[in-house]
Every structure is written in C-alpha cells, then in structure tokens.
C-alpha cells in the first residue's frame, strides 16, 4: 500500500493522485479490476482480523467475503480523509461481530452472565509469543471473552463502544475483559513455560 502511495498520477482535474486514490476512485465507479486490486492489497491483513474473532479459517473467510461485499457496496462513502485500511478494518470488525451474533454456534457461546471459575493471574507477563501462537490462544477463549478481548486489547475500542456494539453494559464489558485478560495471561505463562521446557529438552538431547 505504501508503494502504491508513492506512484503519483493525475486525475481529470489535474490534481496529483496516488495510485491508491485512483484505485479507490475506480472502485467507487464499480470497476471490477480496481475492486480486485484492492482486495489483493487488503485481503491477507483483513483475514487476520476476521480469524481472531472466529473459530475456524472457513468462518473467517466467510466473514472476509461478507466484509468485502460491504466495502465495495459502501466505498462511495469513503471520503479519503483517513486511511482506507483503517476504514476496511472497521467494517471487518463490525462484520465479524454481526457474524457472531447471527450464527447459532457462536451466539450460544456468547454469554455474558456470571463467569465460570477460571484461574486468575494478576501479573502482566511480557509477551514472547509469535502472533500465530498468541492468536491461537486468543481463539481458545470463550467466544464472548474472545470478542471483548479483541475489541479492547487489539482494536482499541473503549468499553463504552464495546458495550454498544455487543449490547451489554460498560461494566459487563470491563469485567469480561479483565477475566479474559487474566485467563490469557495464565495461558501465556503456561505456554511460555512449556516452550522453555521444550527448548531445555531439545538442548539436553
């Protein structure tokens, strides 16, 4: 995307335009080639976003497809004031949340009542995990925890916004997040311990 941004061209009004702006303008006109190019630019990153909210790659691809349908349907509303990637990401997050609410196997798991007893860790561990390993741990969280954790820790939404998105109160969101965070920290510590043991065993061998 950055490389595209450096290649300047001109529109009909002789204003300098980056290749990305040209792509956006063409996509707004409904040109399929521009849409495909935008998809190729952002699909991998957005599938990573969708993957964090779902439990399988198949579901994540469904969300990705649905999200890009929305992107191309509403790209006319993108005024070019912010980054296109951030705009698409927001659509993907909203689509993921809607997907969780819509499908029964996620909806039934999205319970925000009194939590079951989980091991609680008040420490804040340092992360030594790769993104894939961290993501697999996040995806092992219950769906409700997973959604709240992703929205707050990764996307940076406030608890007020999360409450509005999920239809829960701000306090519920806050408590759900704390429980998810503690659970994840415990798992991260266990995982790192496990990795250390493995590394030690490999050295011994």
């Amino acid at each position: 995307v950055q490389r595209l941004g450096k290649n300047a061209c001109q529109d009909k009004g002789n204003r300098p335009m980056t290749e990305l702006q040209t792509l956006i303008r063409d996509a707004q006109k409904g040109k399929m080639r521009a849409q495909r190019r935008l998809y190729e630019l952002y699909a991998a990153e957005m599938l990573g976003v969708c993957y964090r909210y779902t439990k399988s790659v198949h579901d994540a691809e469904d969300v990705l497809q649905e999200g890009f349908m929305k992107v191309f349907a509403h790209i006319g509303q993108f005024e070019g004031k912010g980054e296109l990637g951030a705009w698409i990401r927001r659509i993907m997050v909203n689509t993921s949340i809607n997907y969780l609410k819509k499908h029964a196997h996620y909806r039934m798991d999205m319970v925000f009542g009194e939590p079951a007893m989980h091991p609680v860790n008040q420490d804040t561990p340092d992360l030594h995990l790769q993104a894939k390993e961290l993501c697999s741990l996040i995806r092992q969280l219950p769906t409700g925890y997973q959604a709240v954790f992703n929205l707050h820790a990764v996307e940076g939404y406030s608890h007020v916004e999360i409450g509005r998105m999920l239809g829960i109160s701000e306090n519920t969101s806050r408590s759900q997040y704390m429980r998810a965070r503690n659970l994840l920290c415990t798992w991260i510590q266990q995982e790192e311990e496990h990795q250390k043991n493995e590394a030690y065993a490999r050295k011994r061998l």
């Binding site: 599938l47 691809e61 509303q77 990764v154």
Partner: protein, 493 residues
C-alpha cells in the same frame, strides 16, 4: 519474539497482532466476485422497476383526462331528469314575443329590448313545449346589467328542486348568488344540446340583482383534466465517515441553481377551496359582438408545456436527511380550444361586482387553440431523504410545500354566453403547491454533482377566484435538474 519491556500488556498484544496476515484461499475472490455481480444485477432490476413505476404513474396521471372526460349525455342526473318543456302562454310571452331577435352575427336587433325593460317570461307546463331559441340575451351594448325575470308555473320546478328553491327562483328577489345555480344548470342543459334556455335581460339600473328561472337540470359538469408536475430537488451530501462521526455532527450547506421542464395541466381535482356554483361570471355579457347561446361547448384546458428556473440552498442535517429552501419562477401553460376572436377593445363583462374590460375574448368553438399561461413565483420548501446509501448513484426523495404567488395569467374563463375572455381579476394570487420528486445524483464524487429526476407539483389552491366557473387546479409533471455551485461546512460538537 522480541521482548518489549516497559510496554503494557495491551500494547504488546497490539504490536504482536497488528501486522499479522493470513493469505486467503484461492476461491475466496471468485465467490466474492460472484456475489458482487449478483448484487449489481439486483440493483439494476431495482432501478428498472423504479423507473417503470414512475413512467406508469406519470402515464396514468396524464391519461386521467381521457379517462374522466365529462360526458353530459351520459350524466346520470341529467339523463334521468324528465324536464318540463317551457310553453309560452300568451300573456306571459308578451315580453318574449317582443324580445330580442338574434342575427347571425350574434347581435340582437330587437329595439324593444333596448328601449324598455323587457320581461321574458317562460312558462313551464307539462304540455307541449314552446321555446325561444334565440335565448333572448340582450346584447345591444347596454351599460347596465339586465335583470332577468321569469314567470311561469312553479309547480314543475318545485317538483324538481323542492318548493323553497323553486319559489326563490321564480320570485326574482332572492339572493342572486343562490339563484344563479339554476341558471348554471340550464346552461348545462344547453350543453346537452336539448334546448336553449329562454332568458330575457332587463337593462334596469340595478346591479347584480338577477333572478334566473330555468331550473332544468342539476347536472353540473364534472370535468377532470390532466395535471402538472414540477419540482426542485437538491443534492444531499454524505456525512463524515468513521468513529468520530458518532460524536460530531456536520452541517453541510450548499447553494445552487435549478431548472426543469415538463407538462402542465389543469384539473378540477381536490384542493383547499372548491368553487361552488355561485357563478359570478355567469352574468350576461353586454359588449357587442358576443355570440348568443352557442352550440354545446365543453370548456377545457388541455395539457401543455411548463418550465421553471431558480436558485436553492440546502442544509444536510444527517447522512440521509436534508432540507431545501429556494425561490423559483415557474411558467405553466395549457391549451383551450376557441372559436373566432371577438376583438379586445370594447369588451365588457359583468363579474358580479365590477365591470371587467377584457383584452382577449373569443367565441366558443374549436377553430383554433388559445394558450393559457400562468406565471408563478414560488418558494419551495422540501425535506429530502437519501434512499440509497453510497456514492455510486444516490437516489433522493424530496417532498414538501411550495407557497407562491400567481404573478399574472392570460387564462380564459367562460361567461354564461359561452364567450371566453381573460381578465386579471379572475385569478387567485396566493398559490400553495404540494411538491414531490425523485432525484438521481450523477457524478456524485465530483465537485459539482448534478441531480436530475422527475418532479410532481400539485397546486392546492384553485387557479381562478371564487365564483369563476370551470375552476380547477394546476399541476406540473416534469424533469428537474439541480446543480450545486458551492458548499459550506460547519462541524457542531
């Protein structure tokens, strides 16, 4: 993974996950492309049916006239009425015998009618009929209004209209407005081609004191005529995007020009005021050269062209809603079939209170067409709703009111002698229109997006003053284009 000391947990997670990518499978784009094509097809179908619906609606409106063309012969009341035929009794017909005789040129040559207050009496009996075919209208150019008196047997009229009405009609001293009603009915009877009404005018000094005694029929013409359209659209702007818009509200102001063209028409449809049968211009014309009761003539205003131009300002209060105010000039025209011109210098008509000197007057007929023009200055106020999101082809629905003033008009009205004339006093000044339309925004991403679409305007007020017969409402159906010239934005927190 590199250790990130000093960073909180959330920041570490964000840094770790931020740039993580997964390549989607090869078939994902294929499915997406299929879905996009399906959606495009669906959108085309939507616009097709929308356009088809609009065209069908427009066609229905324009054919309204043909569907509701007045048919006097088939009018249930008129046709079922067993009308008594007037018989001239020797005594009562004295005035008639000496009454005005009509020449081919439509002038009366009976000196008695001018020199003395002629009384034209008509008797209604159940016996054989005797009619004065000349309809005995005094057209000798007298400056005073004739008083018509009729004597006869009221029994038939009483049977037809009830005793009180019949008594009033024959007494000749009741409220002239109320008593004109039977005269109207008689006129309609004449339009049926049955028999001319026998009316004599008494050129007495009184003004407006008239008694009509021809209670033949209550068949008032119910003429429905096609309509008109007109509109003033405005472009809507999309509000800002993003999360920040939840907390800020943007107000966009835009200013621009509008122009449109279409068809204007005239109908007797529903409105704020309905002209009753008090027919102020039903009095006899006293000028020279007006033909007497002519053949059956169906007054009508056929649809013709209309156009408008003006300026507007619009404020968008949300992503979908905006409000527009403007000022525009609208010219609507209709066509009326007329006979020969009767000159324009010495024509003088009585409209119930004042004498009117007309500049245009025609006899009834269909030899040529006269173009009625209405010049309106209006202030359209509309609310607009963007029906479709997105910027590819936004569709906006506008609806509102359009108060205005009828600056001038040369529209013809009809007097009781079937002569057509125009006069400024006949028009109603204030006009309130109801306006709606659809607009398609072309080039929405450009600095000056063009809005274009159909618009319909219906005038709730009748176009003629109270008491003018053949009153009705104007409407306009056309295509309107709006071009914004410049924009202003203001952000409210």
């Amino acid at each position: 993974m590199k250790r990130m000391p000093g960073k909180d947990f959330e920041q570490q997670v964000r840094d770790t996950m931020g740039s993580w990518r997964i390549e989607p499978s090869a078939g994902t784009w294929g499915r997406l492309e299929e879905g996009l094509a399906r959606k495009k097809k669906r959108r085309r179908a939507f616009y097709f049916f929308l356009l088809a619906g609009l065209l069908a609606g427009g066609a229905l409106l324009l054919t309204e006239k043909a569907l509701h063309e007045p048919d006097h012969a088939a009018h249930p009341i008129a046709s079922s009425m067993q009308r008594p035929e007037p018989v001239h009794s020797p005594g009562a017909n004295a005035g008639r015998e000496a009454g005005p005789q009509q020449t081919e040129a439509g002038k009366t040559t009976n000196p008695a009618a001018n020199s003395s207050p002629a009384v034209n009496s008509t008797s209604f009996n159940s016996g054989p009929e005797s009619t004065n075919p000349a309809s005995a209208i005094d057209r000798a150019g007298n400056s005073t209004t004739a008083v018509r008196q009729t004597s006869g047997n009221p029994s038939t009229a009483s049977r037809l209209y009830g005793r009180s009405n019949a008594t009033r009609a024959f007494a000749g001293d009741a409220d002239p407005r109320k008593q004109r009603l039977p005269a109207d009915r008689a006129k309609d009877e004449q339009a049926d081609g049955d028999r001319p009404l026998s009316i004599a005018e008494n050129p007495g000094p009184s003004s407006g004191h008239r008694a009509y005694a021809s209670p033949f029929s209550i068949a008032d013409t119910i003429a429905t005529r096609p309509m008109a359209i007109g509109g003033t659209p405005a472009p809507s702007t999309s509000a800002g995007s993003g999360q920040a818009d939840k907390y800020t509200r943007k107000k966009h102001w835009s200013f621009g020009l509008t122009a449109g063209a279409g068809r204007a028409a005239f109908t007797e449809g529903i409105g704020l005021s309905q002209a009753k049968s008090a027919d102020l211009n039903a009095g006899p014309s006293t000028g020279s050269g007006v033909p007497p009761q002519g053949p059956a003539y169906d007054y009508r205003q056929d649809p013709s062209a209309g156009w408008e131009a003006g300026g507007w300002t619009r404020v968008s209060v949300s992503r979908k809603w905006s409000f527009t105010a403007g000022v525009s000039y609208m010219q609507l025209s209709t066509r009326t079939p007329v006979g020969q011109s009767l000159g324009d210098s010495s024509r003088s008509y009585y409209n119930g209170y004042t004498r009117q000197v007309s500049t245009n007057s025609f006899s009834a007929g269909s030899q040529s067409e006269y173009r009625n023009r209405y010049h309106l200055l209006q202030l359209p106020l509309t609310a607009e709703w963007q029906l479709t999101p997105g910027r590819r082809l936004p569709v906006i629905w506008s609806m509102g009111l359009s108060p205005g003033y009828l600056l001038s008009s040369n529209a013809l009205v009809r007097d009781s002698a079937q002569a057509l004339y125009s006069h400024p006093d006949n028009q109603r000044g204030f006009q309130l229109g109801m306006r709606t339309g659809l607009r398609f925004r072309l080039m929405p991403s450009s600095a000056h997006p063009l809005d274009i679409g159909p618009v319909l305007q219906y005038q709730l007020n009748e176009v003629f003053a109270d008491g003018i017969r053949d009153n009705g409402h104007l409407y306009y159906l056309g295509v309107e284009a709006r071009l914004p010239l410049f924009f202003l934005s203001r952000v409210q927190r």
